[in-house]
């Protein structure tokens, strides 16, 4: 890219408008993914500052918002990585340990007290749905950091399994163990707090 062309794409960015136009959007994006107000705020700030420094790298192929969101997303993955680093083995071992609680060690069958029960939720009732969502969010917070990171990446951004494994440094088989354990725990937590 020659200098004049670069200057043109560069001009598509309006950093003076960023706070006004994207701060709330990016903040909401961050907070649903890391559930911590202060950290979310700081990540948005870091995003803007990194973007200012990297303005020359903006090629105008995506919208300004998409470009900023991509920068934020990388920062969120860094947070996931930090939160779960060193805990991988503990988490997975804990996952294995807890299996005894949900399923019989001899048959692999559900233990009676943990067997799924109907939620009896009417999703057409907005208040009921809202309350159920609230409990779901609380239950997610109880998951170990690594599980939650894996889960969030898979469900929120529909990230490829390979990408998640590479970013969080886990093997493919551990990935499925985590997905399974996390869901069994999450479902059990919903059942416990809802019914």
């Amino acid at each position: 890219m020659d200098k004049t062309k670069r200057a043109e794409t560069h001009e598509l960015l309006k950093p003076q408008e960023w706070v006004n136009m994207y701060a709330d959007y990016l903040y909401a994006y961050a907070i649903t993914r890391i559930q911590n107000q202060e950290q979310a705020r700081d990540l948005v700030q870091e995003t803007f500052l990194s973007a200012l420094e990297g303005m020359h790298r903006f090629e105008g192929k995506s919208s300004e918002r998409t470009w900023l969101t991509a920068i934020l997303k990388n920062k969120i993955i860094d947070v996931y990585r930090k939160r779960s680093s060193g805990l991988q083995m503990i988490d997975v071992n804990r996952a294995e340990d807890e299996q005894g609680d949900f399923f019989s060690e001899t048959t692999g069958h559900w233990n009676n007290e943990h067997a799924p029960q109907p939620f009896g939720i009417d999703h057409s009732d907005p208040l009921m749905s809202k309350e159920f969502n609230r409990i779901l969010q609380q239950c997610m917070q109880k998951l170990p950091a690594l599980w939650l990171s894996v889960f969030s990446m898979k469900h929120m951004d529909d990230e490829l399994t390979d990408t998640i494994c590479a970013e969080l440094k886990i093997s493919a088989s551990n990935f499925w163990v985590i997905i399974h354990r996390a869901k069994v725990n999450l479902r059990a937590c919903l059942q416990k707090n809802w019914i």
Partner: protein, 91 residues
């Protein structure tokens, strides 16, 4: 028969396959095993239904910021604006 019983009673394996099927791929053999298990296991049938529902709820939750609109603290926004302006002027 022994092999079949293992499949029939192993809810741990069945729920594992349910999760793998929801988010990825399972082999033909696994798919047959899961189907055999589900024929005789109401608990896992219910689990499969609920698990799928939970996935969809989570995706919705992440796409629309749940509940009331989230906004950034106004004071922080003003400070942020100042930092950006400073940086732009210093370059």
């Amino acid at each position: 028969m022994n092999e079949l019983n293992k499949i029939r009673y192993n809810c741990k394996q069945a729920t594992f396959l349910i999760e793998k099927k929801l988010l990825g791929k399972i082999t033909l053999k696994e798919s047959v095993e899961l189907r055999i298990h589900l024929i005789g296991c109401d608990a896992c049938k219910l689990y499969a239904k609920q698990s799928d529902k939970i996935n969809r709820m989570m995706q919705r939750m992440f796409k629309t910021v749940a509940g009331k609109p989230v906004t950034m603290d106004e004071k922080f926004k003003i400070e942020l604006q100042e930092r950006i302006t400073d940086k732009l002027n210093s370059d």
